[in-house]
Amino acid sequence: MKIGEIKDISAGAIGGLKRLLPLAVLAAILAGLAFKYQRLDLSKRRFIKHLARQLPYLPGRYYA
């Protein structure tokens, strides 16, 4: 393999990684939140669940 080809492959891999980075960060944040959620006491988990369930309806409520 020539040096130029190696450069091309590594540049492609880095490009791919760059594209994946935001997704990885997002996944890490979600995992962090899920972990935190699991560690909350029942009362707080219920509060969050209660609000989260209503999220899809908020645009409708805003226009009512």
Partner: protein, 499 residues
């Protein structure tokens, strides 16, 4: 030619406030009430010499009422004789022990210090914080329209102090109380108030922690019963030409080209009017009285998703003795965890509570004229959902009442069972049938963050021109002073947009 400039549907406090203020603006106003009596849930009925309040039993945070009567050329205190309630309430713990919270914050601290000196100090700090919060909320939140994001920003500019307490917005009622107070009994003494916003401690937003303090701003009872308030609003409105017709149920709001043009009554009569103010529950209004066909799909989805607020059965007891209670309001409390358990494991599943908790209003303690000759009247707010999993309200209500009376006689009010001369029971179904409150919801819609401000049906309708909302299912929510605030907002909006 329109018959009236404005038709108001419903003579609850929200509708009467809007009607009276609009008449004050010089408009020809007709208020249509389906019942025989005005006031809706803020009203009083008589039975065999006893007067009982149908719903609301006290007033606190009276600023909106003072404002409404001022605009109507009078004062609230001139129109309604207010009896201060001090102590603000008595607490009965599950073991039957009792203590009293006086109006004064400092005296309340003394009471708390007997349970926990640390919590007495916490109480003083809590009262200061809540007082700051409430002052800002009264300026901004209660009396400003919040139809959209811009209104919301304006509201925050009027009362920026609200934003100084972000901890209250992002936590629950329960976590606020548990963060502040250490002692279990002290926590229990602040548990019941969460139902004043219709939700259990785990779901009520932290901002409602002000409910465990606001009583210390003053709790009042109107002489003659709660009906004195709607009567005074009616009297002032009539001075400016407002007409009120009872036994007149509106079945349709007439809409033409996206704008209201009048209403149709149950007997087929049509009344033309370019502006309609609705004091009807917003869900019923939009889905039945107006009709889904007049709503854009997004708004329809939004309205359908609104949750109706909590309901409960209420016992009205006429007694021939003075019950051994020492306050107008008496809270028979349990822990916040028990209230959560009731909500999640029983109420939501159509079951009655396992543990007994209740609010007892001893109205003749404040106003002896509500029962003749040394007799007394009690309202007992119990707990129980609208739809029962087993049986129906008609078949279980006597049993529920008897069980409650036994419990009260045994632990809290000795002799009660032997002194009942008159008894009446209102179930959630009765509230629905008599006052057309869907599922008997005491506060119209839920009062959580996502049913508040811009997410509560708007005071100026976004779906139909010329339609305005007043009452518990619009901003700022349920409660007598709160719906009076909604009536002020509706009248202001009509003044701006309908000239």
């Amino acid at each position: 030619m329109a018959d009236y400039d404005v038709v108001v549907i419903g003579a609850g406090c929200g509708g009467l406030t809007a009607g009276a203020l609009l008449a004050r603006q010089g408009r020809r106003v007709l208020v249509l009430e389906q019942g025989e009596r005005i006031g809706g849930c803020c009203s009083t009925f008589e039975k065999e010499g006893y007067s009982f309040d149908i719903g609301a039993t006290i007033l606190e945070i009276i600023h909106p009422l003072e404002k409404a009567f001022r605009i109507l050329g009078s004062t609230f205190q001139e129109e309604v004789e207010l009896i201060p309630c001090d102590p603000v309430y008595d607490v009965y713990l599950p073991d039957g022990s009792r203590f009293s919270y006086p109006r004064s914050v400092e005296e309340t601290a003394e009471v708390i210090s007997r349970l926990s000196p640390e919590d007495a100090r916490n109480w003083i700090r809590f009262a200061e914080k809540m007082s700051n919060f409430l002052d800002s909320a009264l300026e901004g939140f209660f009396l400003s329209p919040v139809n959209n994001i811009y209104d919301m920003l304006k509201m925050l500019r009027k009362g920026p102090g609200i934003l100084k307490h972000p901890d209250l917005f992002f936590s629950t009622y329960q976590s606020v109380i548990e963060r502040v107070f250490r002692n279990l009994q002290v926590r229990q003494s602040f548990s019941y108030q969460t139902f004043y916003c219709g939700l259990p401690p785990a779901l009520a937003p932290g901002i409602f922690a002000f409910l465990s303090f606001s009583e210390h701003y003053g709790v009042y009872y109107p002489r003659g019963g709660m009906i004195a308030i709607p009567q005074a609003l009616k009297r002032r409105g009539e001075k400016f030409g407002m007409e009120v017709r009872t036994s007149s149920r509106v079945t349709k709001v007439l809409v033409r080209g996206g704008r209201v043009c009048g209403v149709e009554l149950a007997d087929g009569e049509e009344i033309a009017s370019p502006v309609v103010v609705s004091n009807v529950n917003a869900r019923t209004l939009y889905l039945e009285v107006i009709g889904e066909e007049h709503l854009p799909w997004l708004a329809r989805r939004g309205i359908r998703s609104c949750q109706l607020s909590i309901s409960a059965p209420v016992l009205f007891l006429g007694l021939d003795y003075a019950p051994p209670l020492q306050a107008h309001h008496n809270l028979l409390v349990v822990s916040m965890d028990h209230l959560n358990e009731y909500w999640f494991d029983r109420y939501k599943k159509g079951m009655l509570p396992e543990k007994f908790f209740s609010l007892i209003c001893y109205s003749t303690f404040s106003d002896a004229t509500l029962a003749a000759g040394g007799c007394h009247a009690l309202n007992v707010i119990l707990s129980g959902p609208y739809a029962l999993r087993e049986g129906d309200w008609e078949s279980v209500k006597m049993e529920v009442a008897e069980r409650a009376i036994d419990n009260l006689s045994e632990k809290f009010i000795p002799g009660l069972a032997d002194h009942i001369k008159v008894m009446e029971i209102a179930t959630p179904l009765d509230y629905e049938r008599r006052l057309l409150m869907p599922q008997g919801g005491f506060l119209g819609l839920d009062m959580d963050l996502f049913h508040s401000t811009v997410f509560r049906p708007a005071s100026k309708s976004k779906c139909v021109e010329g339609l305005y909302l007043a009452g518990s299912s619009t901003h700022p929510g349920g409660g007598v002073p709160t719906v009076v605030a909604s009536g002020i907002i509706a009248a202001d909006l009509v003044d701006i947009y309908e000239n």
